[in-house]
């Protein structure tokens, strides 16, 4: 069975189930008696086990199986949920996550058996119902063993066929109808060249007698010649065994066929286990068809040959969004057709062309919006893991705190959502570790409740999405930061005196700057905030912090809705066209040349009381300005956080929606150019990144 095509679905769904489990178990911790939650957990655990089994990830399956057992007992009211159990379950989820990460990374689940977790999971069972647990635990292995034992000495391999519940039902029904159920193992001559063709003929002959309900290997594998020299089937027929055997032997190049009646049809534990048990038994050859199955015969061998499966990143799209797209495309075709007819018709209708173009414009704009929507996913998928994280931190740090989240449904571009998790996690850890006061008395003194609060709020603000991480903790001690910076020589005494509180706080974003007195494994190694900042900036976003000592801090992340298409201002510098993203632009000013003053060898302008440095783009871009020196300057005021700068350009040509394209790997582009876009006439215009200029 080739499962690689399902890998993506598997990864997606496992992630989803894990997330569900995490959320539900947090829930369960609060309300241990909620049966709905327990049922939900049980279902998720069960699906996980089934999926892992089908994909051949044995270790993952074993672990989920143990977890499922625990919840099965909980569901039946045989054991009670306690906090030790919750902890173990969380460990178990982490372990599953690890398997999943391995699978995603290399296509193999890894070799960690996590026996300790399984053991402690089973421990919860044995507390009150040891025999039952034991029995259930052992079902898979012995059947596999007995199967191999049975088949090694006899030819009746059909006896080893594992049946699913449905198949058993079919067999039972057939027996009731007075039909015979015949098991058959057919051996093909080893010299046979077209094994699958022979097998096909056997199947055909048998199907004339009755109905084949199971075959091992599966018919698909047999068709693909993925079997050794024998295969087994179970046949429901009116004829007897001899007829069936003779029918099989009647096909040329068939060496032998053995068979008998199926007396008792028993169900294998679970459909998923059928596959694995069969693998584990004796059909070693089959293992190469299940590349990911780490079966007993050296898991490395089959996987090593296989190339690492590349896991594509996928977006699940609401079917409605797709319908919208489809509608728009049909409108686009209509618009094109009306243009065509307008172009071929005589002059009378020539006036309509403008109208048609307007229509076309409408359609393309809507189309663009719809496509953007398809790329958008709620940040839910990322932030959902945070309550669990805060819970763990709470235990680790011994502080009481609660995470309040709003706006999980806020949507962002998939690429951004993927990247935003780590920075957010870091900020939250920061708040938990450094923000919330460890000293409860101090909190009381400050008039705050004993339990610390951390807030994560997300909302859309125009073309941006804002995510705020807020805590009611200690806030940033500006003096401490200043001292630290002086100590490290980051700034001089003189600079320190001139710096505003805000500037000092911003020092925290410098690489390797941590004020934590004690380095903990949660945060405080100083590799954090600068990484957060650079990550956010790589997503064309910005991060900002406001803090008040003793009251708390607020970290604000501002991200553009999408990265692929932006509104931009088209400008001309020299004889070249450039695009400046509109999101960065504040105003556009016309400045007389004599208003430009020099301060510390830098050109600045005084704009309504604000001193703003100006940057002559023609110098940065290494080209000649087409303007005379005494002409008024066109200055585009751009901002980055609180900082502003004026970009001097030659001319404005207007606003345009542009599609961002990469310049490719070959050109070592300067930081100022963030990409390129294709203009209406097919020429390329470069996109200026104002963030790199300020």
């Amino acid at each position: 069975m080739d499962v690689s095509q399902y890998l993506e679905v598997f990864i997606d769904e496992t992630n989803e189930h894990l997330q569900n489990l995490n959320t539900s178990i947090l829930d369960l911790e609060q309300n241990p008696d909620n049966m709905d939650t327990v049922n939900e957990i049980f279902r998720a655990a069960h699906s996980l086990k089934g999926m892992a089994g089908t994909m051949g990830y044995k270790r993952m399956q074993d672990l989920t199986h143990a977890m499922e057992n625990v919840f099965s007992k909980v569901r039946d009211g045989e054991i009670k949920v306690n906090s030790a159990m919750i902890d173990t379950i969380f460990q178990c989820l982490d372990a599953i996550q690890e398997y999943l990460d391995n699978i995603q990374g290399g296509g193999d689940e890894g070799t960690n058996d996590n026996a300790a977790i399984i053991k402690s999971l089973n421990g919860f069972l044995s507390g009150e119902s040891a025999p039952a647990a034991e029995a259930e635990e052992s079902t898979a292995a012995p059947t596999a063993e007995s199967a191999s034992a049975g088949s090694s000495d006899g030819k009746d391999k059909w006896k080893d066929i594992k049946l699913t519940e449905e198949q058993v039902d079919v067999i039972e029904a057939a027996k009731k109808d007075g039909k015979k159920v015949v098991g058959l193992t057919v051996f093909v001559q080893e010299a046979c060249i077209l094994k699958s063709a022979r097998a096909f003929l056997v199947f055909k002959a048998l199907e004339e007698l009755g109905e084949i309900i199971v075959s091992v290997p599966s018919t698909q594998d047999i068709e693909d010649e993925r079997f050794d020299f024998e295969f087994s089937v179970i046949l429901i027929t009116d004829s007897d065994v001899e007829t069936a055997i003779n029918a099989a032997k009647g096909v040329s190049e068939i060496e032998d066929a053995v068979g008998g009646y199926v007396e008792e049809a028993t169900v294998a534990d679970d459909k998923a286990e059928v596959a694995v048990a069969a693998d584990a038994a004796d059909t070693v050859e089959e293992n190469k068809n299940v590349p990911a199955a780490p079966a007993h015969d050296g898991a490395g061998k089959p996987t090593a040959e296989k190339k690492k499966p590349v896991v594509n990143r996928t977006v699940r799209v609401d079917i409605e969004k797709l319908d919208d797209l489809m509608n728009l495309v049909s409108e686009l075709i209509t618009a094109k057709n009306s243009l065509v007819s307008a172009a071929t018709a005589d002059n009378e209708s020539a006036n309509d062309v403008g109208e048609h173009i307007e229509y076309l414009e409408n359609v393309t704009t809507s189309l663009h919006e719809s496509v953007m929507k398809v790329r958008m996913v709620p940040i839910e998928s990322v932030v959902n893991k945070f309550p669990r994280m805060i819970r763990d931190l709470q235990k680790k740090l011994g502080k009481k705190m609660e995470l309040y989240m709003t706006g999980e449904e806020t949507e962002l571009d998939r690429t951004v959502v993927d990247e935003i998790g780590d920075p957010l996690m870091h900020l939250l850890r920061n708040s938990a570790d450094h923000g919330i006061e460890s000293d409860v008395a101090l909190r009381k003194e400050r008039g705050k409740p004993e339990e610390g609060s951390i807030f994560l709020d997300a909302y859309q603000d125009g073309n941006n999405v804002v995510i705020e991480v807020r805590d009611d903790g200690n806030g940033i001690d500006v003096e401490a930061v200043k001292r630290k910076a002086l100590e490290r020589g980051t700034i001089t005494e003189e600079q320190a005196n001139q710096m505003s509180d805000k500037e000092i706080i911003n020092l925290l974003f410098l690489p390797s700057f941590s004020t934590a007195k004690v380095v903990s494994d949660i945060s405080g190694r100083g590799v954090g905030l600068d990484v957060v900042k650079s990550k956010i900036e790589s997503l064309s976003g910005e991060v900002d912090v406001k803090s008040q000592l003793g009251v708390g801090s607020t970290w604000t992340i501002r991200l553009p809705l999408t990265l692929a298409i932006i509104q931009s201002l088209m400008v001309i510098v020299g004889d070249e066209k450039y695009a400046i993203p509109l999101g960065n632009i504040q105003t556009i000013e016309s400045i007389r040349p004599d208003e430009v003053k020099a301060v510390q060898q830098k050109e600045v302008i005084n704009l309504r009381g604000n001193i703003i440095p100006i940057i002559r783009l023609n110098e940065i871009l290494d080209c000649q300005s087409a303007k005379a020196e005494d002409e008024d300057l066109v200055v585009v005021i751009v901002k980055k956080g609180d900082k502003q700068a004026g970009l001097v350009i030659d001319e404005l040509t207007g606003q345009q929606e542009i599609v961002i394209k990469s310049l490719g790997k070959y050109i070592q582009r300067s930081k100022v150019i963030s990409g390129a876009t294709i203009l209406g006439n097919g020429e390329v215009a470069l996109i200026i990144d104002p963030n790199a200029l300020i």
Partner: protein
């Protein structure tokens, strides 16, 4: 380009003209050959990179083969072409050449694997010399051609 000779085992080269010499580019690297079009300059890059162009929605850097090989730059003429090559490491790159002549096939024994005694600079970029109808064709080593620096500068 109408006369294309195909031999078994032979490698096909696109014969190009640069000044007075003939060069060959392994056809398996060639993605496309286009007429010159507007090149958008990219600031602060090596002088031989003339900028970027758009080919069917893809942004492709363009380099001057003349500048890279230390030859004098010349005005674009009617025969100037951009040869778009595809390198595994860098993706597509366009080379500006004086003229594209024809496709020639050279068998291994027709190629002399020695460094040639052309002008110093060019020698770095040549992997061998083939002889086609009495004319010498220097075969370009594209990895060297697209590399950051010429061997001499290092």
């Amino acid at each position: 380009m109408d006369e294309v000779k195909i031999y078994s085992e032979a490698v096909q080269y696109i014969k190009i003209e640069m000044g007075t010499e003939m060069f060959g580019i392994d056809i398996s690297y060639v993605d496309n050959i286009v007429r010159p079009q507007h090149v958008t300059r990219v600031p602060n890059v090596a002088s031989y990179i003339k900028g970027v162009i758009n080919i069917r929605g893809e942004i492709i850097p363009i380099m001057s083969l003349r500048l890279k090989m230390g030859l004098e730059e010349i005005e674009e003429s009617k025969s100037t072409r951009f040869i778009i090559i595809k390198m595994e490491k860098y993706g597509k790159i366009g080379l500006i050449v004086d003229a594209v002549k024809e496709v020639v096939a050279l068998e291994d024994n027709q190629i002399e694997r020695v460094k040639v005694d052309t002008s110093e600079e060019i020698a770095h970029f040549v992997s061998g010399v083939g002889k086609v109808d009495g004319v010498l064709v220097s075969l370009l080593d594209l990895d060297m051609v697209v590399m950051e620096k010429s061997a001499k500068e290092e």
